[in-house]
């Protein structure tokens, strides 16, 4: 099947970004150009879902051209049931980010919007690249717009946070580069990921490869103990930056496990699974406790993200369909829910210029509509059934119990912990009597804010009430992956 939909998904936002840049100081023009680009960027991804053949496990919408023939580097794109939903999610979130920044960003509007559009295109590139060099270029390139977003539009400590973010993630990817080069040599000069999946590799190199990829991806997820950059980055990032960071960027690492670690080093994956499971459970429980005592709302949600991403890595390494599909569902759901949570904090921050829980209290009295939305997202974050937050956690817990009762037991503690940190924050911020004069002066959400919160609310509920269409897409590819991982490559 030949098609250029994936190229469009990548290049429409990136090229659109340059149109937006061209708008320069014409702020409204820049905003509208960005919105149209974002919508167009999403529109070209819709046929990917509609035209997706759920019975097929392999790559679809494949585009394969020579790029640097001398090294067999190709412009090779394709999606399967694992990656296709992330392209849609990414393009969709981009629209919301543009709307969320609409009148809030007053400084360098064109550059701000453009950075997000480039980011969006680049991340579509990551999710669809099937050539290792192409992947690596996109993977590294994604750092730059985010680095700029935090560094230019971020909070007072933004420079420190931007560097910490940049270094942590860059360090990780260096080891990955070495792994890629090794695989290039081992495969006799190919960067084709699908060929790499079939490569026979001895146990020791497999383990080394796995560890190299692990460092790169664990930083992105982020997994404990390389997670400390995330709270800092979130705190300093502008709202849109936090949304993209949480909703999409955190998924890159997890996606990497499925595209690289598991299929390329299946024996090492199995061998090291206990370690991965242990790290995941530490993320769920340890980070859950840490989230409980946060004083800054964004830090709290950042820690909650780490904890939720623990479910993702846990789901991957229990090697059953419930686990892997649950993890994928959790990734998408987390895109909606954490995005919405950061937008909610942004709505309050825009009015109060504070993220400290202690500065709030009784917001329901002045912003009842907002309180309603925030309640829904908080409940989704706590994994309430009928919201998307439940589905993935439920699947992973079921999968974990099937794998080993005690692992399921440890994972299920999130039921209590997740509710505790989310609802305790909600209580202190939203409920209670009006805490101070600033809260008394708050105005409820405007129609622009209502729009993006309502859209996300609809997504969260739809995915909770009817997750079938999401998992249906994944079955064939996940099944294939699990079969692949079960076969030794020694």
């Amino acid at each position: 099947m030949s098609s250029s939909l994936l190229s469009l998904a990548i290049w429409v936002p990136i090229l659109g970004a340059f149109v937006v840049f061209a708008a320069g100081n014409a702020q409204n023009l820049a905003r509208w150009a960005a919105l149209i680009t974002a919508i167009a960027g999403f529109a070209v991804t819709v046929p990917l879902y509609l035209g997706f053949d759920v019975t097929q496990a392999g790559m679809q919408f494949v585009e394969q051209r020579a790029w640097i023939p001398r090294f067999n580097i190709e412009y090779f794109l394709g999606v399967d049931g694992i990656s296709v939903l992330f392209i849609l999610l990414n393009s969709f979130i981009t629209i919301l980010v543009v709307i969320a920044g609409w009148e809030v960003i007053k400084d360098k509007v064109a550059q701000y919007m453009g950075a997000f559009l480039i980011m969006s295109g680049v991340m579509n590139g990551i999710f669809s690249a099937l050539d290792a060099v192409l992947f690596y270029v996109f993977f590294e390139a994604s750092l730059i717009p985010m680095y700029i977003i935090i560094g230019v539009w971020g909070g007072p400590n933004r420079v420190y946070a931007a560097f910490k973010f940049f270094l942590y993630t860059l360090l990780g990817s260096l080891l990955m580069l070495i792994a890629l080069i090794y695989l290039f040599l081992a495969s006799g000069g190919s960067f084709n990921l699908l060929e790499w999946h079939q490569l026979r590799i001895e146990m020791t190199p497999q383990i080394l490869l796995f560890l190299a990829f692990l460092v790169a991806f664990a930083v992105k997820v982020p997994m404990w103990p390389v997670h400390t950059w995330l709270p800092d980055a979130h705190v300093e990032a502008p709202t849109g930056g936090s949304v993209v960071l949480a909703a999409i960027m955190l998924k890159l690492g997890a996606y990497g496990f499925l595209r690289f670690s598991l299929p390329i080093a299946p024996d090492a994956s199995q061998y090291l699974a206990p370690m991965m499971i242990a790290l995941s459970l530490i993320a769920v429980i340890y980070i859950g406790f840490v989230a409980l005592v946060q004083l800054d709302m964004k830090k709290l949600i950042a820690y909650s993200s780490i904890s939720h991403m623990g479910f993702v890595t846990l789901g991957f390494f229990i090697f059953n369909q419930l686990g892997v599909e649950g993890a994928l569902v959790q990734m998408i759901s987390h895109g909606f829910v954490s995005g919405a949570m950061f937008l909610c904090v942004g709505v309050m921050y825009d009015r109060m210029h504070s993220r400290q829980i202690a500065d709030y209290g009784g917001v329901a009295n002045t912003m009842p509509k907002f309180a309603g939305f925030f309640m829904l997202f908080a409940m989704a974050n706590a994994g309430l059934p009928a919201t998307s937050g439940f589905v993935g956690e439920f699947m992973v817990i079921l999968g974990a119990i099937k794998f080993n009762f005690w692992i399921g037991f440890a994972a299920a503690t999130t039921l209590v912990l997740g509710a505790a940190y989310t609802l305790w924050m909600y209580k202190r911020v939203i409920f209670g009597p009006v805490a101070n004069a600033h809260v008394a002066e708050l105005t409820d959400i405007n129609s622009r804010e209502f729009l993006f919160l309502a859209v996300l609310a609809a997504c969260v509920l739809a995915m909770g009430i009817y997750p079938f269409p999401f998992t249906e897409v994944m079955h064939a590819s996940v099944d294939n992956l699990l079969k692949h991982v079960a076969v030794s490559k020694l």
Partner: protein
């Protein structure tokens, strides 16, 4: 027929959505009309379905496939059998009464909010939306034919309970109570989810019929990792869920605090319906529980502890709603004991009669609270019977039923439970029987204490004018108001609920002994309590005749007489007793110290652990040691991060990027 099944849950949902989302447009009248219409429709449909089920038409079918993964096909669907039908009638009827009652109770809700609070603007509509949403959730729970939907309903009723306990969100006590309720319930749900997970893992399905069909196989299995007998592990997990929702010791701690919510929801959610979800669930799971004597033992012991120890607290509480709340806990303990004795149908029978008489008690208490201008302390009441005759009469009916005196509804169900526990051979049954008898005496005492304390004796509200009320909301008046009977929207539901509180016990013959539940409830022949009861049953009058010559009746009666003596004849005595037995009273008033312990150990402990991990783990160890020192562990890593602090990071970052590209370029050009 299928459309009718859909109408039952979705009519209230529609009402809730309209009242909640368009509160401004439809106004107060619109909100209560649309929600009452929704629930009334649901009630009528439930009655039609009930008759149909009586005629033998049960139904088990799916609505849609929610999810498929890993060989599990999870569907949303309905199971309509006698057990469901009873629950549907109870839920929709009590809900309808509570909806009507709410018109009166919440009529002046704006007084409960600060004048400029926008949350209070449409609070009336919001309240109706919530209780209709609750009705939907509860119906989804009881009508489910699978564990996923059960869990959905389970959590959804928990959500609405949370929203309603904290309805008056400006009150610190209310938002403390709702968070506590949610979290304690989540502890129960933790066990519940593990139970469901084990079922999914070993039965490969979460559909009731399929799982029950495999019950015998499951009973023969062992959990592979833990080595536990599988069926026992499953049942204990599920029962821990029930302990949370149905407030069984030690997860009962949330229920008394839930009284912070408006009274209509205390009646609907925290007495008649939601808290009985655990009882319903265990009954529904009878094909599983019957296969584990260990689990049944646990059930009967937990129920017994709850029954007795919660009843004791009801004696010392002076808050009228809390007395009813502790009495609810005790009654839930009875139901749980019945489950443990494999007398599931008796538990459901008591669930039904209790729903009626406890709703009467709560709504009666609410009526008193309205009359007393939101005063809940019985020490400031007394002598109310001549001012509020209808409320008095209905509360009296509720109290008699609660105490279990014939021929009121509670007698039949409670006596049956005691007989079943007596007949049960499950380990722990003897202990439970002793607890049950003691609780009967105490039940008589606290029930009539409430009646005499609040409605008889001196009119203490005349001297109470000096202090502030329990929920002072800015009335600022200190003058004595003559209490007066509540409006018709309040008294009519009271009367309509009082009728089944008297009469619903009379259906005992067909309900318990007429094989009415059919296949919906399974009892293993080895658990003979029900068979024994059936053999000894001699009809309603026979049961009354037998009842008045047995111990429970005389215990309940002596409890009532003691209450009469202490609160009518010698009202000075309680204070003397309190002084003499100060230590015991303090233990009860402190609720056995459980709240303090939980606050200190769990809440405080969790925060301590969190702070320790954050400061010690993240900040000191990871950012501190890994960043600053310990080169031996991650030397290179730490070395790089030292750059952050030395200020050269800027150069470093860019030399890094440059390095990468140079490396790439070199690599490419080499070949």
């Amino acid at each position: 027929m299928k459309l009718l099944y859909l109408i039952v849950p979705f009519a209230p949902l529609l009402g809730a959505l309209i009242a909640g989302l368009f509160s401004k447009a439809i106004g107060r009248t619109g909100a209560h009309v649309v929600t009452i219409l929704g629930v009334a429709t649901s009630f009528i449909a439930s009655v039609i379905i009930f008759r149909d089920v009586m005629a033998g038409n049960t139904f088990n079918g799916d609505l849609y496939t929610w999810l498929e993964s890993g060989g599990l096909s999870l569907k949303i669907g309905f199971l309509i059998d006698p057990l469901t039908a009873v629950m549907m009638i109870v839920v929709t009827f009590v809900s309808l009464m509570v909806h009507i009652y709410t018109i009166g109770y919440m009529a002046h809700d704006e007084d409960n909010w600060p004048a400029d609070s926008k949350a209070g603007t449409h609070s009336y509509q919001r309240f109706f939306a919530y209780i209709s949403l609750f009705t939907f959730s509860m119906l989804m729970l009881v009508m489910s034919n699978n564990f996923v939907q059960l869990f959905f309903g389970w959590e959804a009723v928990g959500l609405v309970s949370y929203l309603l306990i904290g309805f008056w969100s400006n009150r610190p006590t209310a938002i403390y109570a709702n968070l506590k309720a949610f979290l304690v319930n989540r502890v129960g749900d933790f066990g519940f989810l593990l139970g469901i997970g084990l079922i999914a893992a070993y039965a490969g399905s979460l559909d009731y019929a399929t799982v029950f069909g495999k019950a015998k196989e499951l009973a023969a299995m062992t959990e592979t990792v833990t080595g536990w007998p599988l069926i026992t592990a499953i049942c204990i997990g599920l029962f821990i869920g029930a302990m949370g929702k149905s407030a069984q010791f030690p997860l009962h701690v949330w229920l008394p605090d839930s009284m912070e919510g408006p009274t209509p929801i205390s009646a609907l959610i925290h007495a008649a319906t939601m808290v009985t979800a655990g009882i319903f669930m265990v009954s529904r799971m009878s094909p599983l529980f019957e296969l584990s004597d260990t689990a049944l033992s646990m059930v009967i012991i937990v129920g017994a502890i709850t029954t007795l120890f919660m009843a004791l607290i009801a004696i010392v509480s002076t808050d009228i709603k809390r007395v009813v709340a502790y009495s609810t806990l005790s009654q839930l303990g009875y139901m749980t004991m019945a489950l443990g004795a494999s007398a599931y149908s008796v538990a459901i029978f008591h669930l039904m009669t209790h729903a009626f008489f406890k709703a009467v008690l709560f709504l009666g208490a609410g009526s008193v609270i309205i009359a007393m201008h939101h005063e809940q302390d019985m020490r400031r009441m007394g002598g109310l019977r001549k001012y509020m005759p209808i409320t008095y009469a209905t509360v009296l009916i509720g109290a008699i039923a609660n105490a279990g005196l014939p021929p009121f509804a509670g007698f039949f169900s409670k006596d049956s439970i005691i007989m079943a526990v007596q007949a049960s051979q499950i380990p722990g049954a003897t202990f439970a029987y002793i607890c049950a008898l003691a609780a009967v005496f105490i039940g008589g005492l606290y029930s009539f204490r409430l009646v005499f304390f609040a409605f008889h004796g001196k009119e203490r509200f005349r001297e109470a004018a000096h202090g502030h009320g329990h929920d002072d909301h800015g009335h600022g008046h200190h003058a004595v108001h003559e209490p007066h009977e509540s409006p018709k929207v309040v008294t009519i539901p009271l009367i309509l609920l009082a009728i089944p509180a008297i009469a619903s016990g009379w259906v005992i013959g067909s309900f318990l002994y007429g094989n009415w539940f059919g296949d919906a409830i399974v009892v293993d022949p080895a658990h003979g309590a029900m068979a024994q009861l059936k053999a000894g049953f001699t009809g309603v009058f026979g049961m009354i005749a037998h009842g008045v010559v047995t111990l429970p009746f005389w215990l309940a009666l002596s409890g009532a007489v003691l209450a009469w003596f202490l609160y009518i004849v010698r009202p000075d005595l309680p204070a003397v007793i309190k002084k003499k037995a100060g230590f015991l009273v303090t233990i009860l008033e402190k609720k056995y110290g459980l709240d303090d312990f939980n606050e200190w150990f769990f809440a405080g402990g969790a925060r301590g652990v969190g702070r320790g991990l954050w400061k010690g783990g993240d900040q000191a160890l990871i950012d501190g040691v890994a960043v600053n020192g310990s080169a031996r562990l991650v030397g290179w890593f730490a070395g790089v991060l030292r750059w952050i602090q030395s200020g050269h990071i800027y150069q470093y970052a860019f030399s890094m990027i440059i390095g990468v590209f140079v490396l790439l370029t070199l690599w490419m050009n080499r070949a």
